[in-house]
Structure formats: structure tokens, C-alpha cells
């Protein structure tokens, strides 16, 4: 190019060859922010300059067509021809993520990612900002290879707990210990993860293989998630950042999923009434259980109290009602969350500081429920004298949640566990609260006690108004460390963390609340005209407290020495002590008056007859105490040797001991180790392939563990908080003693390849791992004659395999920059060996798990989905049919009890997706950036909730498939829904619900979120009050783009626990940097 120009200049002297001109220019990055201190050199000359703090530079005496070379740390160098315009704007492209000096934090050390051995996944603050929400863990969804399993969480629960996350599949079959370890900065985080304000988080590192995680030893078996908080910088300019955000989540769409028509429900009630199904309840003169309005009407009709016409009219009126309108109107609302965060950071040559405060307020989709959080954080580091560094941080969090909603759709119940009838009205046309059935029959609560009892009716909307249920949480964490350079290459450090958090729950039920009125009435004694209250007429206050105190201390030596130009040796070793002490207590106060703060005493000792012949009972004190103490002592070491920037070898080892109860001292220590190597192929002298400028191969091998607190060789008793009926303390046997149990061990082999093309247009990594888990502890069936029907035993081996791929491409690099980030994970876990005798295991246990509980069958996924083989509906009766000893059968109980050896069990596949990931496309133009995250989950199955006539009759839970049921011969051609029979056979429902026709493919593609942001800086707009301003708008839960099931069910939010699809959320936010 230059040569052509040179030729041209020689040929065309009139163009002013040799003329010297000044050149002004500006160096900016892709986000149009100035790059300070970039170097600008003129090719072939010694002229050079650097950009000033506005990114501007000036070079005088340049020849036209000279070539400028612009470079800056962290950016791809660029050559720019000098043209005649005089003002040059150079946009430098950042080097691809891993080419930068990207650091990952293991909790024990911070490593440059490209000089580390092992599988680390780094999620930057920018990626974490894609999602909103006050919980830091929820922001990992869709931007990392961490898989979220939300199937067991109810529709109204937005709280994310670590147990919903999995890193690279399963490593245990014990539900309570399957969550990854969460580390904040240096130490495992014992408190509520909700205390961490996401705006204080700098990055998250996921430690995935043994080389990365084994340093965490016995708790690293399920992967480690390290959260690194923001800090100041030495010599950093003072910065102030203010960010605000608001999220609006639409009112849930209660009509989105089909439900059983109200008229069908009423018809079923009338049918059952005719069969005498309700007679026992109608004739019950002791407890007088509540019945629905339709049954009450029919009973009055049967007793001749109303005319046939009147009852028909009344019932038709009920048929026309749909309780969802009232729930929507009164018990649900638009959810709103506001977030404010302000932070200061900076530093001098000897100190760095970071100070932040955050405020979050939200109200949930359930009316009456809300959350509020205040966080404060200060982190300071300074150099008190030569060779020493001291760091000190304080974090304070206060949160308060209100939980006053009496219950959402299907959660509001009567008679402990019956779903409120679908024609219930919660308010009249004027909005006045209406009475619905609760515990006792309508006629009874009207007249019981002849006016001497308290009002005994239940009005849900009154309860919403009266409820006073709050939980507050306070947490303070102090963290200090000191690092001292002993020798040139040897550092010693001690660090210490103290955390104290306390939560207080308070439920005040005033005398107007149903709960209190009911309890007072039950303990009221009426004798003629005298009324005696055994429970004082006043409110009931339940208070509970819990406290966590934990400390952790660590002493560590770090060694780092270069031996000559080619060898680099580093090592660290240390010891750690941790203790977490929890205590909790709860108590109840009767006769509480919130105005005067008075209370009354009650008799907890004697039993009293309950009103209306309900038997005798004692007043419940609800007092209880708990204290727990966990202690860990660990020793660890890690060594690394690098040769000539081409090879890296490392090894780590760790031993843990804890005070696990009942474990013999010798078994408390558990050694774990790992070894790893990396080969930087592209740094080899023989490597010539310029197209692929980065190529790095790594391999690791090692062991991690699962600390299973449940393993005890001796029988263990647990004292119960309340005495037995005659006042004696008593104990339950919580474990019979697992005399032969061994530890679960996890062996991980990981190999990976990092690559990047010239100019970093395509960068990424691909990893393949094998995870062998041995001696998994799982409940095994035991002869109940022993007194134990289920015992934990080392019962299986498991093999996990998988691929993690991440790819970053820059598709266009002009004015419009288009980037794509692809995440792809393939993870399978398969039980390879079942160690116990499985011939006696019954198939029913496999099917009823619904893929939600972990099971072990050789060749299957632990979260596997199983079914009974389906033989169609009986053409004569509409009964579901299965197979028993190869013959079509309707003996449901026998089919379910078949031992595994002879059963016809269908294994569909895993219930968690083996293939998942996301594709994020980002378009940027000037200050605008638009991106969309599309996620996919493939290769798995889910069981839809099937119609159960037993649920319908016993719990009043309708199902939309009712109208699609078999009703006459020939229907078996069009439907698989069994006929309605009376008396019902519950096993028939269970069989149908577990048959293969209720399983669907879960594969789907979802549009997770769309985000638009715009940033503006002072250069762009001089009158901007801040240095820069960023604005964003984002929408999430935008729905499914494609799904494999034709029934339009959402496999992640199956209506089994989710009553409505997740509501769309719109978020707006503004960030100022000063």
C-alpha cells in the first residue's frame, strides 16, 4: 500500500510531495471512550508521542502518507495512513478477553488467566449486568455454563439458592450437599447470599476442574463459585458512580394456562354428592368439616330447606364465577423493584479505597409481600511500611421482608390442604371482603356458641389487610489481611474474617385474624351464661431469632521465583481454621396487645377440652431452641512451574478435617490432590500458523470430595424441643448409624484448548471433561423389620462427561460492530454401577420421582425420567392399562410393586438438559449497544402433571384435561385421559400419572432477554454533568421461541409448581460516572 502511494507521490510532484503538515488525532476505544497514554509512532521514523488524558495527540512535521502505528496496553495495535484530513480518529479494538491481563480468583490467589492451569470460567461485571435483580447468583443465568434448575421452586419464589445451581452436572446423589461452594473474596460465604449487593461485585470465577477447585478440598466436589468484590486502585483517579434502576414485572397472567372449567368442577361435586361422597362430612357433628358452597346448597336441597329451582339458580350462578378474576384483582399485583447504588473508589501511591452503599426496594407479584435491603461496604488497602500491605474491609447488610399475602392461586386452601374451589369469590362487587370456606361448615360457624364465641368466619382479604409478618436480617462481615514480603520471592500473609448475622422473624396475629379467633374459640368453654377463655382474648405473637457467628483464619506463604530467563517457580502453602456457630430460638406470646405491649399467661401443662367435642388438647407453646457448630481445619499447598512461557505444570494437595458428629477422629481427615499441565503451542518457535495466533492446550487430573455431614457410624439421637404428652423430654433416633459408610470421591479429568485468530476476530475455548464419582451415598431400601425402611449406603458409581464450548466472534468491525458470544455445554451424568442388590427395588419408586429426585439405575441419569409402559385405554371402560408379566393389565398396584428385575419400565432420558447454552448477539454503533440473549436447552424430558381424579375429589384440584377424558367407546382413539369412575381407585390415577403418555420432550429455545444501552461522555456532550452516563433498557422473560412439545407447556416452569408463565419484566436504568 505504502509502496503504491510512494510510487504515486514520485510520479505526481504537483501533489505537494515532501510537504510537512501537522496532524491532530484522537484515540478512542469501541465504546468511544478516550484511550489515555496510547503510543503513536510514525513508521520508519523516530517520531513518537502519547495521547493525553482526552485521548488526543498532535504530531507536527508529518509527511502526507506517512503511516502511524497506534498501540496501547490491552488493545490490538493498528496502522493508520496519514491522510489529508488533518484530524484522525483511531478506534482501537480491545484484545480478546483472555488475551488481556485477565485475572481469575481462586479464593487463595489471584492468577493471570493465561498463566494458570485449570478450568476457570470468568464472568465479568459487564456480563453480570445483563440481568437485573437483587440476588447475585441469579445473574449467572444465561451468561455462564452454570445450569439453573428451577423446577422445584414455587411460582412466587424468586429467591435463588445455591442448591438450584449445578456446575458440570452432578457429583453426588445426596440432595442436601449437591450445591456448589460459594466463596466471597477469600472465604466460603456462610451467610445469606442475598446480603451481597451485585453492584459491589467485580467478577465471578467458576472453578470447574480439579486443578482449579481441588485447593478447596472436601467441599469442592460440586464446583466452586468465587465472587470477587470491587476494590480501589493504587494511583487510581477518584471515581464516583451512581446507578439507579427500576424493574417492573407484569401482573401474572392467571389465564395463560388452561384450567378445568368451573361448570365441570361443579358437575363433579354434584355427581359426588349424589353418590354420598360427602355424607361422612355432612353427618360429622364433632369436627364439622367445611364443605364447598355447592355441596352446602345440595345438602340444603336434599333436606328440603330450599326448592329445586332455587338451588339450581344458585348453582348456575356459582358456575358463572371464576375465582381467578378475584385473585388477579386482589391478591396479585405488578411487581416493582428499585435499585440505587453509589460508590466511590480510588487510591494514592500507598493506599486504595472503595466505599459503596446500596438501597433495594421491591414489592412482589403477591400483594402484601415486599423486600427492602440496605448494603454498605468499605474496602481499604494500604502500605504501612515497606514490603507490607494491609487490607481491611467491612460489609454491612440489612434487609427486611414482608410476607403478608394469605396465599396465591391454588395456595389458598381450606381444611388443611384442599384447594379453594374455583368459583370462590373473595370480594363482592363493591370490593368488600367475602367469607370463604375454611375449617368448619358455613352453617356451623354462623350459629356455634350462640353468639358467645368470636366471629368464626374466614375472609382472605381481611387477612391480607391484618397480616403482620416480617423478617429482618442484619449481617456484618469484617475482613482483614496482612501480607508481608519476607524475602525477595517469599511473601507471608495472614487473613481473618469475622461474620455475624442475625435474623428475626415476627408474626403478629391480632385478635381480628382468623388464626387467633379460631384458636381462642377452640379453647373457649361455655357453661350456660359463663364464658371461659382458656386462651386469652388478644393477639398471638410468634417471634423467632437466629444468629450465625463465623470466623475464619488463614496463614499462607507464597513463593515466586524466576530462575534465569526461562524458569518460573511458584508455590503456596497454608493452613486454615474455620468455625460457624448457629443458634436459634422461637417463642410465642398469647394475649398480646400491640398498642399497650401487654401479654397474658396461659396454662401449657394441662389439657383442655376443645369446643364442640373436638377432643382434649394442650395449648401449644411453640418454643424451641437450636444450636449448631461446624468446625473445619485444613492444610493446603500448591506448586507451579513454568518453562519458557510454553509449559506450565502445577499440582495441589489439601487435607480437611471437621467436627462432623459421630465420625471417628481418624476418618475426619481426607487428603485430596490434583495435577495439571499446559502447553502454549502458539509460543513454540516451530509454530507458524498466523491465522490462528493463539493455541493453548491444557490437561488436568485430580480429586475433590463431598463432605457428607450425614455419615455417622454410631446411632444418633436428637432431642425434641417439646416434651412428650406427660412432660418428659424425649428423643428421636435420627440415624441408626451407618457403620460401613465410606467417603464419596470425585475424580476429574479435564482437557481444554484455548484458541484465537489473528486480530481476535474469533476467540474461544473448548473443554472436555470426565468426572468419575465413586461410592455415592444414597438411600437404599432395607427390610422394615429392622425398624429402618431406608438406610444410606455407598450404593453407586457415576460417570460424568461433557464438553464446554465458549466462542466469541467479532462479525463486523466497522461503524457498526456486531459481536456474538456462544456458550454451549454438553453434560451427562450416568450411573455406571449400582452396588447393592437391585432385584427387589420396586418400579413405583422410580416413576414417582418425576425426575425431581435422584435415583440410581445403571445406565441412566440420576435425574432420570421413568414411566410405566402404556397399553392404551380399555375401549370398554376407559380405564388406563399397563403391562404385568407381558400381558395387558389393570392391576395397578401389582404393576407399581413389580421388582425392577421383571418390570416393564420405560426410561425416557434425563430430566435435566444435557445440552444447554446461550447465544448473545451484540450490535454497537457509536454509544448505542443492542443485544439479545437466546438460550436453549435440549435433549431432556419432563413429566406434565396428569389429571388425577383422586386429587380432584380429595383436594379439589381440577385439571384442564377433564373435558378431554374418555367418556364413551371410541374415545380411546382420540384421548389418553382415563374415564371418571366412582368409587375412584387412587392407584389408577397414580398409574396414569406415571405412564409414558404423560412424558414430553423438554427441548426448547427461549428469548431470555433483550437489552439496549446508550452511553454518553463529556467529549460527546460538553454540558453533561458527569464524566459519562450510561442508560439501559432491558426486557426479560420474553417467552419461548421454539419448543418440542405440542401442548405449549413450558418445561422449565411446568404447571406442576408454576401456575402461570413467568411474567415479562422490563427494566430501566441509569448510571452516572463522575
Amino acid at each position: 500500500m505504502k509502496r503504491i502511494f510512494s510510487v504515486l507521490t514520485m510520479l505526481c510532484p504537483f501533489l505537494g510531495m515532501g510537504q510537512l503538515i501537522p496532524v491532530k488525532g484522537k484515540i478512542i476505544n469501541e465504546e468511544r471512550k478516550p484511550i489515555v497514554g496510547a503510543s503513536i509512532t510514525v513508521k520508519g521514523s523516530r517520531k513518537a508521542t502519547t495521547s493525553n488524558n482526552k485521548g488526543e495527540f498532535t504530531l507536527t512535521e508529518l509527511k502526507l502518507f506517512d503511516t502511524l502505528v497506534v498501540s496501547s496496553v490491552g488493545y490490538e495495535p493498528q496502522e493508520v495512513p496519514n491522510n489529508e484530513k488533518g484530524l484522525i480518529t483511531v478506534i482501537l479494538q480491545s484484545k480478546a478477553t483472555f488475551l488481556q491481563e485477565v485475572t481469575v480468583n481462586t479464593g487463595y490467589q489471584t492468577l493471570a488467566k493465561d498463566r494458570s492451569n485449570g478450568s476457570f470460567e470468568l464472568i465479568t461485571s459487564e456480563q453480570l449486568e445483563r440481568r437485573q435483580g437483587a440476588n447475585i447468583l441469579s445473574r449467572l443465568e444465561g451468561v455462564s455454563s452454570v445450569l439453573f434448575d428451577r423446577r422445584k421452586v414455587g411460582a412466587e419464589t424468586n429467591v435463588i439458592s445455591a442448591s438450584e445451581l449445578s456446575v458440570r452436572g452432578l457429583s453426588t446423589l445426596t440432595e442436601s450437599i449437591k450445591q456448589p461452594l460459594i466463596v466471597v473474596d477469600n472465604f466460603p460465604y456462610e451467610g445469606d447470599i442475598g446480603n451481597i449487593n451485585p453492584s459491589d461485585v467485580e467478577s465471578i470465577t467458576v472453578l470447574k476442574d480439579a486443578a482449579a477447585a481441588a485447593i478447596w478440598g472436601a467441599r469442592a466436589g460440586n464446583g466452586v463459585i468465587v465472587i470477587t468484590t470491587k476494590k480501589g486502585q493504587y494511583n487510581g483517579r477518584g471515581r464516583i458512580t451512581l446507578s439507579t434502576g427500576i424493574n417492573r414485572t407484569a401482573r401474572p397472567d392467571l389465564f395463560a394456562y388452561p384450567r378445568m372449567p368451573v361448570s365441570d368442577f361443579v358437575d363433579v361435586e354434584a355427581f359426588l354428592f349424589g353418590k354420598g361422597y360427602y355424607n361422612a362430612d355432612l353427618n360429622n357433628t364433632s369436627t364439622r368439616p367445611a364443605l364447598t358452597p355447592v355441596v352446602e346448597l345440595l345438602a340444603r336441597r336434599r333436606a328440603g330447606q330450599i326448592s329445586a329451582a332455587d338451588s339450581a339458580t344458585a348453582i348456575d350462578a356459582l358456575k358463572a364465577q371464576d375465582t381467578r378474576y378475584d385473585f388477579d384483582r386482589y391478591l396479585y399485583q405488578e411487581a416493582l423493584a428499585q435499585q440505587y447504588a453509589l460508590n466511590f473508589s480510588g487510591g494514592t501511591s500507598r493506599a486504595q479505597y472503595y466505599l459503596s452503599g446500596g438501597l433495594d426496594r421491591s414489592r412482589s407479584n403477591l400483594a402484601g409481600n415486599g423486600y427492602q435491603r440496605v448494603t454498605l461496604r468499605s474496602s481499604n488497602t494500604f502500605i504501612p511500611f515497606r514490603n507490607a500491605e494491609v487490607q481491611f474491609s467491612v460489609q454491612y447488610a440489612y434487609s427486611r421482608s414482608k410476607n403478608n399475602n394469605p396465599g396465591g392461586l391454588d395456595a389458598l386452601s381450606y381444611r388443611s390442604g384442599k384447594t379453594l374451589y374455583p368459583y370462590a369469590r373473595l370480594a363482592d362487587d363493591e370490593g368488600n371482603p367475602l367469607v370463604v370456606a375454611k375449617d368448619y361448615r358455613a352453617g356451623y360457624v354462623d350459629t356455634a356458641g350462640g353468639g358467645r364465641l368470636l366471629d368464626w368466619k374466614y375472609r382472605p382479604l381481611e387477612e391480607l389487610r391484618l397480616a403482620d409478618n416480617t423478617t429482618t436480617l442484619q449481617d456484618i462481615t469484617l475482613n482483614g489481611s496482612m501480607r508481608y514480603r519476607l524475602l525477595r520471592s517469599l511473601h507471608a500473609s495472614v487473613s481473618y474474617q469475622y461474620e455475624r448475622s442475625g435474623s428475626a422473624g415476627r408474626i403478629h396475629r391480632s385478635v381480628e385474624t382468623y388464626y387467633t379467633r379460631d384458636l381462642i374459640n377452640l379453647f373457649t368453654q361455655i357453661n350456660g351464661n359463663t364464658v371461659k377463655y382458656i386462651i386469652p382474648k388478644g393477639g398471638i405473637l410468634d417471634e423467632s431469632r437466629s444468629e450465625l457467628k463465623s470466623y475464619a483464619g488463614r496463614a499462607q506463604l507464597d513463593f515466586n521465583q524466576a530462575l534465569g530467563a526461562r524458569h518460573q517457580l511458584s508455590a503456596l502453602g497454608g493452613a486454615e481454621v474455620r468455625e460457624g456457630a448457629t443458634s436459634s430460638s422461637s417463642y410465642r406470646t398469647y394475649g398480646y396487645n400491640s398498642e399497650l405491649l401487654t401479654s397474658s399467661s396461659v396454662d401449657y401443662i394441662n389439657t383442655y377440652p376443645r369446643y364442640g367435642g373436638r377432643g382434649n388438647a394442650r395449648i401449644s407453646s411453640l418454643g424451641g431452641f437450636d444450636e449448631g457448630l461446624d468446625r473445619f481445619v485444613s492444610l493446603y499447598a500448591k506448586g507451579q512451574y513454568a518453562y519458557s512461557n510454553r509449559f506450565i505444570f502445577s499440582a495441589s494437595a489439601r487435607r480437611d478435617a471437621s467436627n462432623l458428629f459421630g465420625v471417628a477422629h481418624n476418618n475426619k481427615w481426607k487428603p485430596l490432590w490434583s495435577a495439571a499441565g499446559t502447553w502454549n503451542i502458539s509460543n513454540e518457535s516451530f509454530y507458524r500458523w498466523k491465522g490462528l495466533s493463539l493455541l493453548r492446550l491444557h490437561l488436568s487430573y485430580g480429586y475433590t470430595g463431598n463432605a457428607n455431614n450425614n455419615i455417622t457410624p454410631q446411632p444418633i439421637l436428637s432431642y425434641i424441643s417439646f416434651p412428650n404428652p406427660l412432660g418428659e423430654p424425649y428423643a428421636n433416633m435420627v440415624s441408626p448409624g451407618d457403620r460401613n459408610l465410606g467417603w464419596e470421591t470425585i475424580k476429574i479429568i479435564n482437557t481444554g484448548l484455548d484458541f484465537g485468530t489473528k486480530n481476535s476476530r474469533v476467540t474461544g475455548s473448548i473443554e472436555y471433561f470426565i468426572k468419575k464419582t465413586s461410592n455415592l451415598v444414597l438411600g437404599a431400601e432395607l427390610d422394615p423389620t429392622t425398624g429402618i425402611s431406608n438406610i444410606r449406603a455407598n450404593s453407586a458409581h457415576m460417570l460424568g462427561r461433557g464438553i464446554d464450548l465458549s466462542l466469541h466472534t467479532v462479525n463486523t468491525n466497522g461503524a457498526i460492530r456486531w459481536q456474538t458470544d456462544v456458550l454451549f455445554s454438553y453434560v451427562t451424568s450416568t450411573v455406571t454401577k449400582y452396588l447393592l442388590n437391585d432385584s427387589t427395588r420396586q418400579v413405583g419408586g422410580f416413576v414417582t420421582g418425576r425426575g425431581l429426585s435422584m435415583l440410581s439405575l445403571e445406565g441412566a441419569s440420576p435425574y432420570g425420567l421413568y414411566s410405566y409402559r402404556w397399553a392404551g385405554l380399555d375401549p370398554a371402560t376407559g380405564d388406563p392399562q399397563g403391562y404385568l408379566d407381558k400381558a395387558v393389565s389393570k392391576n395397578y398396584t401389582a404393576i407399581m410393586n413389580l421388582p425392577l428385575a421383571t418390570a416393564d419400565l420405560v426410561y425416557h432420558g434425563p430430566a435435566l438438559p444435557p445440552v444447554f447454552g446461550s447465544v448473545i448477539n451484540t450490535f454497537s454503533w457509536r454509544g448505542f449497544s443492542l443485544s439479545a440473549n437466546i438460550s436453549y436447552k435440549l435433549g431432556y424430558f419432563f413429566r406434565k402433571t396428569a389429571l388425577s381424579y383422586n386429587e380432584l375429589m380429595v383436594r379439589g384440584k381440577g385439571h384442564p384435561n377433564f373435558s378431554n377424558r374418555w367418556q364413551q367407546a371410541g374415545d380411546e382413539q382420540r384421548t389418553t385421559v382415563p374415564s371418571f369412575i366412582y368409587p375412584n381407585v387412587p392407584a389408577r390415577d397414580v398409574f396414569y400419572g406415571g405412564s409414558e403418555v404423560t412424558v414430553l420432550r423438554g427441548d426448547h429455545v427461549r428469548l431470555n432477554d433483550v437489552r439496549l444501552s446508550y452511553s454518553l461522555d463529556k467529549e460527546g456532550w460538553k454540558r453533561l454533568p458527569a464524566k459519562s452516563v450510561q442508560f439501559y433498557a432491558a426486557a426479560s422473560n420474553l417467552g419461548i421461541l421454539w419448543r418440542a412439545n405440542s401442548e405449549k407447556l413450558d418445561p422449565d416452569y411446568d404447571s406442576y409448581t408454576w401456575l402461570y408463565p413467568p411474567s415479562k419484566t422490563v427494566a430501566l436504568g441509569l448510571t452516572f460516572n463522575f
Partner: protein, 447 residues
């Protein structure tokens, strides 16, 4: 510089090298204990929710009550419905599992008690050992009434009895003993327990010497050992013979007997059965009529209006029925044993002593019988009326069916369909849960 380094290393060493054994021996949960102290073993035995329980099947399947067809249909668990009509393949796991759980508790207590020297607190040690033996026998007794064929002297040594689990090692295989061995074990253990237990009940949830004798008396009655039965009942009543005078009761109350009344020697509740709850179970009018007008049990046992439901529960609760030991039963056992031994006069004395407390003051005329057999008939008749819904009827049916003059075929009627259980039918012994058979290979009961 160097000194600082040494100081640092010293701190480091203190951190790491201190013995951590003591540190790690702290308890991870204060409520958790290994059963090492007498107090802990007593706490296991005070778990009345597990130990003071008996089988539900003995009540569900007996002929003291009936269910309306609609009430029967409204029971959601098919196994409970089937138990009511003695369907021949019915197997209920709850009685087996719950009662063998009691057995595990008692065996754990006995195993760990063996490691505690008795010298330190001989009184408590004896009480715990006696209680554990009693509770184990009580569980075996309950199991034997529903899962083991009725006792027959001629075949007891070959009929399959219970798996007699006598230690807490769950790895030991369960093998069925014979019926004879089953009863022999209970008798032997109870005789030891009677010597070790306190002379009077401290509280009725804890076993006592009279309780051990009362259970022994029950067992001897079942095995037909009248002499020993009389002696055991006698020993019991010598220590504890309080009878509740029904004249002092408020018979109009929902549950006139209240909780833990003065007659109770040992409190126990039958496992829950949806069939026998007071909102479903109905009592027969003929049975009602068999009580005299002046018999206070008419008002104390039966609800005011037809169809009658049962309110004579010795535990004031509509759902859980008392099936423990009380003095009225012991009087009846002694009376029966005496009648069987030909001792007509003392037999009638016992019966009349009891009945006098049941009738309106001043209205009771003592019953008379001229022969022992006549007395026996009277006693059995009154036994049925007194021990209504107490769980003893099923055992009585099983043993009395062996005597042709007392044998009865019991019937259920549902929706016009009649179900009959003839005397000595194999269905008087319930099936052992199939899961147990699969896992152990033990022989199933006959059908």
C-alpha cells in the same frame, strides 16, 4: 527484616501446629447425642409417639362397628377400605413398620445399656432395662395379634411366628420364629421386666410392674394358660386396682373418660385408621340395646343420637383410639381365668366389682351364675361390652373361634353386598407386607 520473618513464621507455626483434636471434638448440633448415658436411653423410651402405640388393624377389622357405604367409599386409601372387608390380598405396611420401629428403639436401648455399668444408678438402670423389655414385648404382642396365626397349642411349635429381632444390628437377617417361640419370648421378657420395673406407674406412658403383669395376663389368656393368667392378673391388681366410678363422670361430655384416667395402667394408642375415626365409625343399635337403662356406659360410650358413634375412648380424641392396659380389663381377665378354672364365686366377684362402678349408684344387682360355664358366658358378654373399641375384640375373636360354643362368623354389609369372615378363616392373620417378603425371603402367611 530477618527477625520479623522469624516472628511471622512463629505465628504461622502456632496457627498450624496446635493440636486440633479437642477443637474438632466439639458437637456439631447440641441436640444430637450418641446414646451413651442413662438419661439418653430414658429419653428414647419416653418417645411415646413411637413406643406407646399398637396395631390399627386389630380395630379396623373387628366387628364392633360398621361403616355406611358412603363413608366407606369416602376413604381414600384402598388398603384401609380393603382391611374393613377382610379382602384376602390386603397388606398394610404401617402397623408392621411402626411396631418394628419400636422394636429397634428398645433394642438400641438394650444394646447401649449393656455398655453402661449398672452400679452408678442401679434404680434407673433397672427401670430402663425393664421398660425396654416391656416395650419390646408390647410391640411383639401387637404384631402377633395381626400378623401371626392365632395361638393353637397343638400347632404353635410349627406355625410361623414373628421375626424376633433382639438386637439393633440391622444387617442381621429377619427370620420368622414359631408362634410358640414368639409368645415364650414375650413371657420371659415380661417376667424379667416385672422384677425390674417400679411397683407403681410413675406416669402412664412409662411401663410399671402392674403393666408388665397386665400384659402377661393378656398373653396367658391368649395362650390359654388360665392358672398363670389368673396369677399375673392377681399380681397386677395387688399393686394397682383403682376402678373408675362412672357415677363421677360427666357422661354428657364429648369424651367423658378424659385423658389418662385413674383406671389406666399403661397408655397406648392404636395407629391411625381412617375407618375407625368417630366421624365415620358407627355403633350397632343392638349393641346399644344390650346395655341396661341404668348402665351408665350407655351414655358414656354412645353418642346421644342415632346412628351412634363411639365416645368412650380412654383418650379424649375423635381419631386416635386408646388400646392400652387398664384395670377393668385385668379384672375381666382374672374373672375369665377363674371361671375357666372352675372358680365360679371369685370369678363373679371380680365381674360384679367392676360392674358396680359402671351402673347408676344403687341400681346394680350383682350377677349370679350357678355353673362356671354360665359365669364364663356372662364374663365374655360383659367383656365385649366393657372393652368396646379397645383393640381387644380382634384377639378375642381369634381365640374364642377355637371354641365352637363361642365361635361367630362376622359380617360386613356394603351397598347390599355382604362380606363374611367365618371362624378360623386364614384372613384372621393379615399378610406380611410384600416388600418384607421380597427383601428377606421369609414365608408369607397362608391364604
Amino acid at each position: 527484616m530477618r527477625q520479623k520473618g522469624i516472628l511471622f513464621l512463629l505465628i504461622f507455626w502456632v496457627f498450624t501446629a496446635t493440636s486440633c483434636r479437642k477443637y474438632l471434638d466439639a458437637k456439631s448440633d447440641k441436640k444430637l447425642v450418641i446414646p451413651e448415658k442413662l438419661q439418653d436411653l430414658q429419653a428414647m423410651l419416653d418417645n411415646s409417639y413411637i413406643l406407646n402405640t399398637g396395631p390399627s388393624l386389630a380395630l379396623t377389622a373387628s366387628d364392633e362397628y360398621y361403616l355406611d357405604y358412603s363413608h366407606w367409599n369416602a376413604i381414600s386409601s384402598p388398603k384401609d377400605k380393603d382391611s374393613y372387608i377382610w379382602r384376602d390380598n390386603v397388606e398394610l405396611t404401617s402397623d408392621w413398620n411402626n411396631l418394628y420401629k419400636s422394636v429397634l428403639y428398645t433394642n438400641t436401648v438394650l444394646d447401649y445399656l449393656a455398655d453402661i455399668p449398672s452400679g452408678s444408678d442401679q434404680g434407673s438402670w433397672n427401670k430402663i432395662k425393664g421398660s425396654a423389655l416391656f416395650f419390646r414385648s408390647y410391640a411383639f404382642y401387637g404384631l402377633a395379634q395381626v400378623f401371626v396365626p392365632p395361638y393353637d397349642k397343638a400347632t404353635a411349635s410349627s406355625d410361623p411366628g414373628l421375626p424376633l429381632r433382639l438386637n439393633s444390628d440391622y444387617r442381621e437377617k429377619s427370620v420368622r420364629a414359631t408362634v410358640q417361640q414368639t409368645y415364650d419370648r414375650m413371657i420371659a421378657d415380661l417376667e424379667v421386666a416385672a422384677r425390674l420395673l417400679p411397683a407403681a406407674p410413675e406416669n402412664v406412658l412409662r411401663p410399671s410392674r402392674p403393666a408388665a403383669y397386665a400384659l402377661l395376663a393378656r398373653i396367658h389368656l391368649i395362650t390359654g394358660d388360665w392358672e398363670k393368667g389368673r396369677a399375673a392378673a392377681d399380681s397386677c391388681l395387688k399393686a394397682f386396682n383403682t376402678l373408675l366410678d362412672f357415677n363421677t363422670l360427666n357422661t354428657g361430655a364429648a369424651f367423658p373418660m378424659g385423658n389418662y384416667n385413674t383406671e389406666v395402667i399403661f397408655h397406648s394408642l392404636a395407629n391411625y385408621s381412617p375407618a375407625t375415626v368417630s366421624s365415620r365409625a358407627r355403633l350397632d343399635t343392638v349393641l346399644y340395646e344390650s346395655y341396661s337403662e341404668n348402665d351408665l356406659r350407655r351414655k358414656a360410650f354412645f353418642s346421644g343420637t342415632k346412628p351412634y358413634s363411639f365416645k368412650g375412648n380412654y383418650y379424649a380424641d375423635p381419631d386416635y383410639l386408646f388400646n392400652g392396659l387398664a384395670t377393668d380389663e385385668v379384672y375381666l381377665i382374672r374373672a375369665e381365668c377363674q371361671a375357666r378354672l372352675g372358680q365360679t364365686v371369685p370369678a363373679l366377684d371380680d365381674l360384679n366389682t367392676l360392674l358396680e362402678k359402671r351402673w347408676k349408684s344403687g341400681t346394680f344387682t350383682p350377677l349370679i351364675a350357678t355353673t362356671a360355664n354360665e359365669a364364663l358366658s356372662l364374663i365374655l358378654q360383659e367383656r365385649r361390652k366393657e372393652l368396646l373399641m379397645r383393640g381387644t375384640r380382634w384377639s378375642d375373636l381369634r381365640r374364642l373361634n377355637k371354641e365352637p360354643q363361642f365361635a361367630v362368623a362376622i359380617k360386613r354389609v356394603l351397598n347390599g353386598q355382604e362380606y363374611v369372615l367365618p371362624p378360623n378363616d386364614p384372613r384372621y392373620t393379615f399378610l406380611i407386607p410384600q416388600g418384607v417378603i421380597n427383601l428377606t425371603g421369609m414365608p408369607q402367611n397362608k391364604r
